[in-house]
Amino acid sequence: MELFEELEIALAREEVWAMLVDAEILSQCITGCETVERISETEYTLLLGTSIGPVRARFTGTIELTDLNPPESYTMLGSGKGGVVGFAKGSAKIRLQDRTVAGKTGTLLSCTLAVSVGGKLAQIGSRLVDVAARKLTTDFLSRFVALAEK
């Protein structure tokens, strides 16, 4: 599935960019993220505990930032393995543009997300995967904006 979200942030583009490459900030925005560990400049491993309705799974995942073009765009590649539950893979293309927000220099953040799942998650979860991915994305973005505008 694919998903497109766009939102305004009352913070300058350079500062939004700095947050987007900060593992600590990212981990605070990811629902259920328990630990995050930096492997290299652009790679992180994380431990996620996800609970959506009847599905309660723990994922070990990696995030890699690619196509870095500061302070304008990057692609976040994520993958997670939930043991017997299955696996999930996704990519989020993030783009920042200058935008006047509430009379000040702000940022327009657009996010194009693609997600695929496999294993039992896909087998029984097909009905719920899209709606769950959308929820995790909007939760991520609203927390990110809350942190940015704090």
Binding site: M1, I52, G53, P54, V55, R56, A57, G83, V84, V85, K120, L121, Q123, I124, G125, S126, R127, L128, V129, D130, V131, A132, R134, K135
Partner: protein, 265 residues
């Protein structure tokens, strides 16, 4: 299955105590979602606390203009209750159309409501009738209860004891079932009481919701005709292999018209 602790308390207090001391506990009502999820290992709680021995949760009471269903009342019991059928026929019909015979004979109203599946039938009835959810702690109006995707206003460990429906003047439910699961691809529940019409939609979005547009049109005139020209936006609707968001948006008005037409005169 893998091993887990199973307990079957007789009282709500005992159940809560067990939940408090469990590492990763879960309540079991009818088990029609939980057990398949556990079999598939999509859920692996350490403690399953079976509520079925708590006798007070299985009562059906119709009096004082209210239908009160204990949390563990099964769908088949609601469908087969003459008292419920004579007070709110639409509610009995809705229960009769949930899932298949197995689900109806095991699944419970409390389990369905607590799980808040986006395609479950009961949330539409609760919202459409302006019901209230009673727990061991408090009373929650349906409008405040269903928060989001599989999310409710329930606190950790809180137990639903009863769902109370005010008896409407007229009500009807129309759903477009998924042919395999009988989950609502889209379902619309309409309840009319004291001249006010409530319209609740399930299956279409991440969580059941009331449609302000359809309510406004029906509050002006209760007829299928008054819904001509109403289009529901597809932006926030569910999109999956069973139905696109646009298709679901279209179905909302179609099901609303069918429900209006089915309202008892």
């Amino acid at each position: 299955m893998y091993s887990f602790n199973y307990s079957k308390p007789d009282t709500i207090e005992a159940a809560r105590e067990m939940m408090r001391s469990a590492e990763d506990g879960i309540y079991l009502a009818g088990g029609q979602t939980l057990i398949p999820a556990m079999k598939q290992r999509l859920s692996a709680p350490t403690d399953v606390i079976d509520l079925s021995s708590i006798g007070e949760l299985t009562d059906i009471d119709v009096s004082d203009g209210r239908v009160r269903l204990g949390a563990l009342v099964k769908h088949a019991d609601v469908a087969g209750s003459d008292a419920v059928r004579s007070a709110i026929p639409a509610l009995a019909d809705l229960a009769a159309g949930i899932g298949d015979a197995q689900v109806r004979n095991r699944g419970t109203i409390g389990g369905s409501v607590a799980n808040n599946d986006p395609a479950a039938d009961y949330p539409a009835a609760l919202l459409g009738l302006g019901a209230s959810v009673h727990t061991d702690q408090r009373q929650i109006p349906a409008d405040d209860f269903f928060v989001g995707l599989f999310e409710t206003a329930l606190e950790e460990g809180e137990i639903i004891t009863q769902v109370a429906f005010p008896v409407p003047d007229r009500a009807a439910y129309a759903k477009f079932p998924n042919p395999a699961s009988r989950y609502a691809t889209v379902g619309v529940f309409i309840g009319v009481r004291d001249g006010v019409t409530r319209v609740a939609v399930t299956g279409a979005a991440p969580c059941a919701f009331r449609s302000a547009e359809i309510e406004a049109a029906l509050n002006a005139e209760i007829s299928a005709r008054s819904l001509d020209g109403i289009t529901i936006g597809a932006d926030d609707l569910n999109n999956d292999i069973h139905a696109s968001a646009e298709y679901r948006a279209h179905l909302v008005t179609v099901m609303a018209k069918r429900a209006v037409t089915a309202l008892p005169k």
